[in-house]
C-alpha cells in the first residue's frame, strides 16, 4: 500500500480525504505510483501530469521523507518508506504568483 496526500483541489475533484491509500503491489517508482493513482481515481488524469507529455505539470511538486522528488525521473525509485507505506508521498500545488 502506498499512501498519497493530495492538495485540496484534487481531494475535492476525487472526492477523497486528505490521504488516499493505493493498492499498489509492485509500485516502486513515481511513474508507477501515478499510474496507480490515476487508475484508482480516473478523474485525476491530466491534473498532475500533462496528458500529452506525461510529465509533471509545472506547478505540481512531489515531496516525501523530507525530500523534494519533483525533479527526479519518473523511472527513479521511490524512497523505501513510501513503498512500504510508512511515509506518505505528498502531491503539492506549488506556490506560484506574488
Amino acid at each position: 500500500m502506498i499512501r498519497v496526500m493530495l492538495p485540496q483541489h484534487l481531494r475535492t475533484l476525487a472526492r477523497v480525504d486528505k490521504e488516499v491509500a493505493l493498492q499498489a503491489d509492485g509500485v516502486t517508482t513515481l511513474g508507477l505510483m501515478l499510474d496507480a493513482l490515476e487508475a484508482q481515481y480516473p478523474m485525476l488524469r491530466g491534473t498532475i501530469r500533462d496528458y500529452h507529455t506525461q510529465q509533471r505539470r509545472q506547478f505540481i511538486r512531489f515531496f516525501a521523507c523530507g525530500q523534494d522528488l519533483s525533479h527526479q525521473a519518473l523511472e527513479d525509485p521511490l524512497p523505501e518508506e513510501v513503498v512500504a507505506g510508512t511515509e506518505p508521498l505528498r502531491v503539492v500545488g506549488a506556490m506560484a504568483g506574488g
Binding site: 492538495p7 483541489h9 484534487l10 475533484l13 478523474m43 488524469r45 491530466g46 491534473t47 498532475i48 500533462d50 496528458y51 500529452h52 505539470r57 509545472q58 506547478f59 505540481i60 500545488g93 506549488a94 506560484a96
Partner: protein
Amino acid sequence: MTKVRVLVGTHKGAFILNSDAKREKWDVSEPLFAGHEIYHINGSPADPNRLYAGQHTGWFGQVIQRSNDGGQTWEPVGNKFTYEGEVGTHQWYDGTQHPWEFKRVWQLTGSLTDPDTVYAGVEDAALFRSTDGGLNWKELPGLRAAKGNLWQPGAGGMCLHTIIFDPSNDKRIFVAISSAGAFRSDDTGETWRPVTHGLKANFELPDPTAEVGHCVHNIAMHPSRPNVLFMQKHWDVLRTDDAGENWHEISGNLPSDFGFPIAVHAHEPNTVYVIPIKSDSEHFPPEGKLRVYRSRAGGDEWEALTKGLPQEDCFVNVLRSALATDTLDECGIYFGTTGGQVYHSSDAGDTWAPIASNLPAVFSVEVQTLP
C-alpha cells in the same frame, strides 16, 4: 412556473443565479468549483438540466464538469483534448511557426437536439466534439486545415470562443477565433472555410483580401434568421445577411470601435446589443460610463442604455461571453463585468439593476429560461 437560471463563470468559480419570471428577487448560489477559473458554464439547448462547465487552473489544468440535474450535483467527465493527427504549427508572434499546444477550454456549446453532444472551443484554437456527454472528445481537424498555419495568437491567446449552430440546417456551424477570424462548416464540422469577406483591419492586415488574421471577438444570431449574423470585432461592429459570405460595418454612432460581446433580442431579430469598450490597452468603458448600446434597426443607429448602470468612475470590462438574453415575453438582458457585477434588465435594456455586485471577475454569462 417559469423560472430564469443564470449561469455565471468567473475567475474563481461558477455561480448560479435563480429567479422566477418576475426577475425581481434573485438567489445567488454558493461558489461552484471554488478557486478555479470557469471560462464557460452552459446548458444544453436539448435538456436544460444538462449543464457543462469548463474548470481550469494553472496548477491542475483542464477539467470538464457535467451536471444532469440543473447544477445541483456535478461529476467530472473527460478532459483529454488531443489534436488529431500531426499536431501541426501555426504562426508565432515572431513570424516563425509554432506547434499547437492545448491550454484550456473557452467555450462549451451543446447540440440543439442531443444533450450528449457538446462542442468545445479551445486554446490553442481548435474545435472538439463529444457525443457521449463529455466523456470522450474528438477534434474536428478540418477547421485547422482552413489556413491554420497562418493563424497567430493575439494578446488574449489563440482561442476558439464562439460556436453557433444554424437551427434551420443541422450541417451548418459557425465558429470564431480570436486573431484568426470567422469560419463556417456546411458538413457538420468536417470541412471549414473562412467567412471574412468585408472584414477590415487596416493596420494589422494591410492586405484587404486577407481571409484569416481578423480579430473577431464575438458573433450572434437570431434563430429565426440564421443567415443574418452580427459581429463585434476588434475594430467595429459588422453584419452579414448571407451567412458570412459578405460582411458590412454597422457601427454607426457607437462611441468606440471596440468591444467584446454582442447579442440579439430574443423576439426581435433586428434588435442588437453591444457594450462598447475603449480600445486597445485600456479596455474599460469610454468616459467611465457603463453603457449598453441597442440598435432596433439591425445596426447603424444605436441608443445608449444607461438607466441603472454606473455613469461615472466605472472602469470595468465586459468580456466576450458575458452578455446573454432570456426568452421571456419581455426579453431579459444580462451581462457580467470584470469587477464582479452581474446586471440584468427585464425590459429589453431600458432599465438595469444588479443581481450580484461582488463576485470574482466574470468571464461568461449564460441564461436558461425554464418552463
